[in-house]
Each structure stands twice: as structure tokens, then as C-alpha cells.
């Protein structure tokens, strides 16, 4: 049994310690908002917050996150930044297929939490690990600026 702190709740999971956090979230806890895209920390679809930092859950064994605070897309709107990002995403209709967007939102929230006024270069730096095959990048960029404005 492994105990994890996910979205403010302590959860006991019967999974092998090498299980990536991604699959523990999706298959064991039914938190399917976090997506699988590559399994190799190459696409960002699986991005969650671990103690507030954006991390790729596909490359994090559950044993490495015991005792840390894990936040997923399902509760990211509990914070002011999360709300602002989701509102900006909706205002600009950022999404297309939507599959990458949980990860995009999580990375954007982490960026804006640390940097309330990101430049385009800051956005490139923080977001270039998140692939979007539908290439919604023009709107992702605009929505991050929009969220920054609403948080100011």
C-alpha cells in the first residue's frame, strides 16, 4: 500500500511502487482528466502539480511523490490562478480536440503562479514542453496573457 496526498485527500493505493503517478491517478483513482500522450516526459499531456511545481506524471513513480501534495486538473480551479486560467481558456475558445488541454492548463497555472506578468519568451519557456497536435498555440499564448491581465 502506498499513501498519496491527491487533491487534498489522503488516498491509499494498492499499486506497485514503480507505477507512474499518471496511471495511479487515471486507473486507480479514476482521475482521468490527466492524460497519457507519450509516457516519456515528451508531451506534457500528463502534467500535474507536485508541491506546486508542474511535473510530468508519466515519468514520476508513485514512490517518489509520497508525502508530497499532488494537484490535478480536477481541482486546480480551487485556486485563484486556476480559475483565471480556465476562464481565459473559455473566453478565447482555446481548445480543439482538447486532449492536451489539461496539461496546458496545469502548466499555465504553474507559470502564472510564479510569474504574474509573463512575456512571450517566458510563455515559450514554460509551455514548450506541452505539445498540442491541434496547434492551438496562438490561443494558448493569448489566453495566458488574458489570465495575467485578469489576475493583475
Amino acid at each position: 500500500m502506498i499513501q498519496l496526498n491527491v487533491n487534498g485527500k489522503l488516498q491509499k493505493l494498492d499499486v506497485a511502487p514503480d507505477t507512474p503517478l499518471l496511471w495511479a491517478l487515471r486507473d486507480t483513482l479514476q482521475l482521468t482528466g490527466t492524460k497519457y500522450g507519450c509516457g516519456q516526459a515528451l508531451c506534457g499531456a500528463c502534467t500535474v502539480h507536485v508541491d506546486g511545481t508542474a511535473m510530468r506524471s508519466c515519468a514520476l513513480p508513485v514512490s517518489a511523490v509520497v508525502g508530497k501534495k499532488i494537484t490535478t486538473i480536477e481541482t486546480v480551479d480551487a485556486g485563484r490562478v486556476g480559475k483565471a486560467v480556465q476562464a481565459a481558456w473559455q473566453k478565447l475558445d482555446v481548445v480543439q480536440c482538447g486532449y492536451c488541454q489539461s496539461g496546458q492548463v496545469m502548466s499555465a497555472v504553474a507559470l502564472l503562479t510564479q510569474n504574474r506578468k509573463p512575456t512571450d519568451a517566458d510563455i515559450d519557456n514554460a509551455m514548450s514542453g506541452n505539445l498540442c497536435r491541434c496547434a492551438t498555440y496562438v490561443r494558448i499564448r493569448a489566453a495566458i496573457h488574458e489570465a495575467a491581465k485578469s489576475l493583475a
Partner: protein, 737 residues
Amino acid sequence: MNEIAIENLSRRRFLQGGAGLTLGFCLPGIAAAAAAAGPGKAGEGLAAPVSFEPNAFLRIGADNSVTVISKHLEMGQGTYTGLATILAEELDADWAQVRVEGAPADAKRYNNLFWGPAQGTGGSTAMANSWEQMRKAGAAGRAMLVAAAAKRWQVPVSEIEVNQGVVRHAASKRSANFGALAEAAAQEAVPTEVVLKKPENFRLIGKQARRKDTLEKTNGKAIFTQDVRLPGMLVAVVAHPPLFGAKVASFDATRAKTVKGVVDVVQIPQGVAVLATDTWSAKKGRDALQVSWDESAAFKLGSDEILARYKEMAKKPGLTARKDGDAVAALGKAATVVKASYDFPFLAHAAMEPMNCVIRLSSDGCEVWNGEQLHTGDQYALANLFGLKPEQVNIHMLYAGGSFGRRACKDSDYVLEAAQIVKAIGGKAPVKLVWLREDDMRAGYYRPLYHHALEAGLDEAGNIIGWQHRLVGQSIITGSPFEKMMVKDGVDATSVEGASNLPYAIPNLTVDLHTLTDIGVPVLWWRSVGSSHTAFSTEAFLDEVAAAAGKDPYELRMSLLKAHPRHAGVLKLAAEKAGWGSPLKAGKAGERRGRGIAVHESFRSVVAQVAEVTVGRDGSLKVDRVICAVDCGTAINPDNIRSQVEGGIGFALSAVLHGEITLKDGKVEQGNFDGYAPLRINEMPAVEVHIVPSAEAPTGIGEPGVPPLAPAVANAIAAATGKYLHRLPLRSTDLVA
């Protein structure tokens, strides 16, 4: 099994009409089951009690919800929103009360009207084929609501207005919402004819209807196939052969079976499947399998060898796809002959959601959860495999996490793989087949590798008097259900589209094609299909010809497009908005900047793009800005058109900068996003989209933004450096100063 709601057909007449609006049964049982498992629905609220279903596309609940049933897949292209916009317009619904649900597979009620008796989403046809159908569906619903209100209030139908979901009789100050009238409306006769709105009265079409799926795709609640979990379901991960055409010789599952969570290991025609209680265990089990493969019938050539063969074939004429005048003679007497050839690699679709499928067998049929792009094709393939009737195969439509053509597999590859696994375990549990990224990328069904050779002849004055275009590659359509419709005299229309309909006024023009049938790499339509290569070769070559003729690329195109006003219209608009002819702002020291233009018609829409690029001293390329003009007929949702074109540009730029699947001794060399890299945000240009106002019926927009980008970029590179690109993707050494 789902119950089929029995409706009293006798109180219905079929609305006959050119667009073929079919009125029929609605299957709320299926809708409800899909809702329970997570349906492909969009909008707020849960499945409402059914009270009024005037036709197969509309359901109005007593709770005042308006549910639009989409016969098309939502894979990102905005179809759910577009179809709902059309129907809600004629229904005069309030946009906020509208939600969307994916239709079950049904070739009779939900066929693509451009495809005959087949349901599917592709060729950018969703809006175009549904335009009249959805308008009539909405108008019929509206007429029945109005009739019910007139009866209830004892007033003439002509005095009733409908506005944003409210039915009103002004003189008597009475009003009711749709929900309140739903039950009464269901008793009304379905009108045999309906009056459609005049475009000047549109309230939603052409305006900014928000996407219906944004909220749930922003908060993680949207359900994709990958997210489906059924009671007792097993997850399958499969060991696939390393080469196309290889088969399992033998396997040893001893170690795989010791992995905790692994329940079963079965051989299927596609490989060896490991079934487990969860994905990670299935993957560990798969990795622990020992399989030896029989490669005797496998395809073993590499990309280089394939290309070398294609180049050899290009020396001789192929089958004629178009012949105007005598190109050979014209080239023979030309003052100047320009020649170039172009190479295009295999490309993977690489949708963010790798292919997957959930199947459950029951005593009387089979249920499927999937983002279906060829609904009835997959339905028939499954029926065939399981010995069922097509109507015993119920498909629950989910969102697809991208597709770009991949989920419309002509051979139903991944769907049948899931089915074979279910069959191999005797249907004892529902199965979710999960392809890991590597499985997805190495499974084939690529955009085919192509070689093009072009020649153009100029007279003394620099006029183009002859044009010869030869293409060599594999056919997508041959062997598919579309073969009869789309392969004529050995020429697959999708191999030459964009080349054989070259719009330019050139008196002597030949397009011919060599189709290889012994290349064992499965190929498929990839967003914009033939135009994904023909737009590049034709439009990049035309710039080389313009340079040889000493003409401006824009002016040359305009002079050759007098008979094509839509092409000329977008070209002119894009050039104007980009400031064609004005100098570009200079780059930093050592940087070279350039502007390039291209225009292309695909799926009956015409798109022109101007790209502005900066080439660094080290040969690095940055596409700074793309200015785009689009003519896609009536703009149903202008914001979605912009969004599709932005995305199309990013998708196309991936193929210019990085995209390439290569084979070595038959083996695919790439497996994940390190080897096959889609565009990242730091590479995305600024995009400006201008839409040509039009009152014509809508045409496609999911794909037409893709084709012009690569040639526009290549032409901009040539303007900056004098170097013409003859192959994609760009190599880092191509642009070194």
C-alpha cells in the same frame, strides 16, 4: 441492451426533400447508456427526459434543453458547435440551452450525404453535407413548436414569433419556452415542407457562437475513449510485429504472466495481447513477453530504397490524370525549360490521443466506445468479424483526441484489433485496447511517401506554354470501400488532387501518375490528403518558374487566374493584408528575411497564405507571421474558421520543420515525440486570418488551411536566400549561408 423508444410512425410523414432530411426514431436508451459511461456530449446538464423528437437530429426536453444529435465526429475541428449552430439558427433556440450528443452509427439516418449510404466524417464535408439537412431539421422543430403554441393559445400560426428559445404571441402577451411546449409539439404533424431563413435574418450563423465543448475540455471532464472504464473491464497492450507483414512465430508468456495485474495473454492476428486490470500492468506484461516473429513475408525496404525506385520510375510517363493540349511538344519548342523534383516522406498522424477502442460483447450484440471517424465502416467490419448484423453493433460516440484522418482507417485496423482480443478471450470481459505512443507511431497508415517531377516551358516573353507534372507513390483508396467512387482508369483521385485540377491558365498541361502496389507500408489520408504534397510541388515550382520568367510570384498567379475568381479573390486579399510588395522589416545582422505566397483549393474551399520568415546565419528558420485569406462559402462560425486555420498552419509547419517517418530495412525508425516531433509553441508563428464574405453554401475548413503553408514558407525562404526547397522536411544544413 438499449431499449428503442417506439414512436408512433403513423403520426409522422417523412419530409421528402433534396437534402434528404430523414425523420425517424431516436434512441434515447443508447444515449442514456453512453451518458452513463461518458458520452461524446457537449454542453451543460445531464440527459433530459425525452419529450419531443421531431427528427433524428433534435431532441427537446421538458427541462427546456435542446439536444442536437451530431452524426459527425468531434475530433477538434468544431463540428459539434457548427452543426448545433446551423440547427439552432432555424429552430431559433437560445444558444445557452443547446447541447450536443454524438449519434449512434446508422447508415440510413446518419449517412454522410456526400458519401451515399455510409456514415463518416472526412474530406472536410461535415458542414457542407449537413447544411440543408440541419437547417431543415431545425426549421421542422420550430414549425411544430409554433403549431403547438397556436393550438394551445387559439391564435393563428402567422401571429407567433420565436426568438432565442421563447415562443411568443405578442397581441395576447402569451409566451412559453420550448420545454413547456415540447409535449404538445410532439403531437403535431411533421411538416412536409419548411421555410428556411433568409441569410440576413441569421442570428447565430456568421456570428460568434462559443464552442460547446470548451468547458469540459478545460476542466478535465471531457471523456475520451482512453478514459472509459466499464465494470470488469480489462486493459490490453499488444506486442506488435517489428516489420509490416511479419507474423507471430511463437511466444513465451511465462514471465509476462508473473506480472501482478496481468490476467491473460492471447495471440491475435495482429500480435500478442496482454490483458491486465490496469494499463501499467498490461504494459509491464507486454514488455516481459518473449515473442519470436516470422519475417518471411515482411516488407524489408528502407525509405531511401523506396525513393530511389520512385525516382527511377519518374523517368517514364505514368497513367494520365489530365491532358490539355500537348505538353511534350510545348516543352520541346520552349525558349526556357525549368525542371525540379520534390520528395515527400511518410508522415504519421500522431494524434495526441493514441488509437484505442473499448468493446463489450453481450448475448445479443456488441457495444463499442470510440471516437469513430468511419462509423458505419467500423460497424460493418465488427459485424462481419463477430457474425452479427450491423444494427447489433452499437457505437457510443466519444470525443477523439485528434485524428487528422487516422481514426477513419479504411481497414478498421485498431478497431478490429480490439475486437480480436475480445474474441480471443471469448467475450468474458469488456476490453480497452490501449496503444502506447510507440504502437501508434509504428502502426503505419501513414501519409504516403511521394516523388514528384515537374517541368515547365516558357516562351521568349516568359509566358508558360507547357507544364508537365509526374507523381510517383502509393494509392490510398485502392483496396478501400471508396475505390469504385474514386479510382478511375487506375488513377486514384486523392493521389493527384491539387495537381490535376491546377487552376492556372496554361495551354499545354499534363499530369500523370505511377502507382506502386508492392510497397508493404499501409497508407492513409492525412489531413488534406493529396493536397498535403501537391500544393507544395505545384506552388513551390511555380515560384521557380516565376523567377526564371523574371516575374513577381503574386502578379504571375493573378495573371493566370482570370477564370478562377475565388482563387484570385483570396490571393488578392492575402497579398493586400500582408503588404505584398512593401519591404519587410530587416532582421538582425546576418539574418535574411523573406516573404512568400501560395494559394490552393482543397475540399472546395480556397485558401491563400503569405508567410514571412527569418533565416539565421546558422541556417535556422523562424516563420514569423502567416497572413491567410479563406473562401469557404458561408462562414457558419468565423471564430472556428480562424481556429481551424491557425491549427492547420501549425500542423503543416510541423511537416515542414520536422515531420518524417523513415524506414530502415523495413523497420520504422521513430517511436515517440523525440524522433517525430510535432510543432512546439516556441515555433508557432503569429497568424492572421481573413474570411472572404460569401453567401454560397459552406465548404470545408478542417483541412484547407494546411496545404498552402509549406509552399508559402518555401517561397519565403527562396525570397530570403535564393535557395529552393526540393524535399520536406527542411534539413538543418539546407539553409546554411
